[in-house]
Symmetry: C2
Subunit: 204 residues, 2 copies
DNA sequence: CGGTTCACTAAGCGAGCGCTCACTTACAAT
DNA sequence: ATTGTAAGTGAGCGCTCGCTTAGTGAACCG
């Protein structure tokens, strides 16, 4: 049912109608892109009149921002939680890539909006999510640098390596579909092996 | 000068005004996205009246198609040319990634439109470029499979590995900018090393 | 019970969209 | 000189866009 999925995605968004609008927004933005979807598309996908959107969001852009901010916060906390519960750089990267990739596969509809509709945001809102993105990238870079200095990774430039790692994860949301050959979990595991080899992991 | 750049990108598009429109289209589509750019934006960036676009292209979508088709053909021929002049799987992948990545960095503006504005195409035109994309992916997959069977690569699933290789290249166009830390050539070389390690290359 | 608040709708406004049309200009062929 | 053609313009049509406004019904409160 619609309600249960939107509740799963955004458990603390109130009221339930606002959640339904966000869900409809995600579906529409992911399928056609932000600028190609109309407020009427979103409202009718949520089973409401066009004006209902403006009861809960001040503008179409604000709806995108709510979706984008929430999605970025989820991926950031995913990354932070891995770093918090592991200390070994190898295990950190392994779990980080597993979770990051699996999230971009399982939530590929949300992820597509989060990753590719970013530039439709007004300047101020863009800056907010850009800051979250920089935090994510910085954490990954630090883990790689740390492992490189500890001698378990062999990379030329941690900056480039971090970019490559994130590229692999982000791009999953572009091509993954529900009829993909692999489950999100399985794909995450396969990708984490690819990444560990890419980083020149020394077995210890 | 505008003419020389557009002539470099699309040497055989005639007349020169049509080329200028394609260049203006690329710049606009890359910066704001297809649906957010107006035909007036494109025309004025090309230094012409809004109606001039329709002298050379039947629609805004047809302009996008011209850009997208040309771009896809360029990347496909780039990939084909590497396979044509090398036989060793390792060297094929090395050069393929070097060139593919360097192209997506050097031509990041065009590449952005080619890779991310794809879904704005009408169905029929989309099918045309989708076919080109499948050819590119198939070639990469075959090279990896070949190397895997020859025992120089160690990959779980060639399908997944090919996706990962292309993801790295495609995603370069999303973040690369002219003030990037590395030249396109240098980035290509660094990425090709990352990819070769990712594929578990055996030194022979 | 009346009064207030809240979520929502029906109707529609002003702006800007893709695209067209009648026309002008430059230039080549006859 | 006349005609034909290709390239380009100025004006604007029909439509859809994001968003607003006035009003409705249900729920809650004294």
């Amino acid at each position: 049912m619609t309600m249960s999925l939107s509740a799963e995605l955004w458990p603390d968004v109130q009221p339930e109608t606002a959640r339904r609008l966000m869900l409809a927004g995600v579906e529409s933005f992911a399928r056609r892109g932000y600028h190609a979807t109309t407020t009427r598309d979103i409202a009718s996908a949520a089973g409401m009149s066009p004006a209902a959107l403006y009861v809960h969001f001040p503008s179409k852009a604000a709806l995108l921002f709510a979706i984008s901010k929430y999605g970025h916060e989820q991926t950031l906390s995913l990354v932070e939680s891995v770093v918090a519960r592991e200390t070994d750089p190898v295990e950190r990267i392994r779990l980080l890539v597993e979770d990051f990739v699996a999230w971009h596969a399982r939530r590929h509809t949300v992820a597509r909006v989060v990753q590719y509709e970013l530039h439709a945001l007004p300047d101020e809102e863009f800056d907010v999510v850009a800051k979250l993105r920089r935090r994510i990238e910085q954490i990954v870079r630090e883990v790689i640098t740390e492992g490189s200095e500890a001698g378990v990774f062999t990379v030329g430039d941690p900056h480039t390596a971090a970019r490559a790692v994130l590229s692999l994860g982000v791009d999953v949301s572009r091509w993954y579909s529900d009829r993909a050959r692999q489950t999100p979990k399985k794909l995450g595991e396969e990708y984490s092996e690819l990444v560990l080899r890419m980083l020149g992991t020394k077995l210890s």
